[in-house]
């Protein structure tokens, strides 16, 4: 069964902390994505990557960075967490336009 695994289901961090959200896929997909889901706003694209060491900004990249050192792993970094980054974070991967496989999500609360 193909999988996208996000390292944490729930996280609580303090304002100003550096936060790492990890995502690993076992499908050998080239493309990986980070979204955040907020009520009334749907899924908004933060960053995506079509290849190792490659990254592209999505619609809301401010306050975030990413790292893709290996094909299977795509990390989202909050350089200095703020309360407005409290959200559900979803990682996805794909190899074609058939669609994404999503991870289970990380519910991040910044206090």
């Amino acid at each position: 069964d193909v999988k996208v695994t996000q390292s944490s289901r729930y996280l609580v961090k303090r304002t100003g902390e550096k936060v790492f959200l990890e995502c690993v896929q076992d499908m050998d997909h080239e493309n990986m994505f980070w979204y955040r889901q907020d009520p009334g706003l749907g899924l908004r694209l933060i960053y995506f990557s079509y290849d190792v060491k490659m990254k592209e900004k999505g619609d809301i990249p401010e306050g975030y960075s990413v790292s893709r050192e290996k094909k299977e792993r795509f990390s989202l970094i909050l350089e200095s967490a703020s309360t407005n980054q409290t959200s559900m974070y979803l990682c996805a991967s794909s190899s074609s336009r058939e669609g994404y496989t999503f991870g289970s999500g990380t519910r991040l609360t910044v206090v």
């Binding site: 996208v4 289901r9 493309n31 979204y35 009334g40 706003l41 749907g42 899924l43 908004r44 694209l45 995506f48 079509y50 979803l90 996805a92 794909s94 074609s96 336009r97 058939e98 669609g99 994404y100 496989t101 999503f102 991870g103 289970s104 999500g105 519910r107």
Partner: protein
């Protein structure tokens, strides 16, 4: 600016009846559309897709209709079951952009037993 819109945040339907979820888009470059289903505390799962060369695609109880002139698509679930209660997202991809999808805001469907 939201390019994919789901104007109904919620919908309640009796078990056994039809559920119709609607989605509108503004970008005429969109040529591939997906519906995802999401349960609380889980990631979205793929439900059904449609390419702009078609106007209908069917998979069991789920049918997606595409009206390109109106820039509108809809998901029909017949018959609705309590296990269908979830948030449904439509997503659209512009031609020539590979795998990037734009998502709607979601519609929360409740199927009442």
């Amino acid at each position: 600016d939201q390019q994919v819109k789901q104007n109904s945040p919620s919908l309640s339907v009796q078990e056994g009846r039809i559920s119709i979820l609607n989605c509108d888009y503004t970008n005429s470059m969109f040529d591939y559309f997906l519906w995802y289903k999401k349960y609380p505390a889980e990631g979205p799962t793929f439900l059904i897709s449609i390419s702009s060369i078609k106007d209908k695609n069917e998979d069991g109880r789920f049918t997606v209709f595409l009206n390109k002139s109106a820039k509108h698509l809809s998901l029909h679930i017949v018959p609705s079951q309590p296990g269908d209660s979830a948030v449904y997202f439509c997503a659209a991809s512009p031609r020539g952009t590979g795998n990037q999808f734009y998502f709607g805001t979601g519609t929360s469907l409740t199927v009442i037993p």
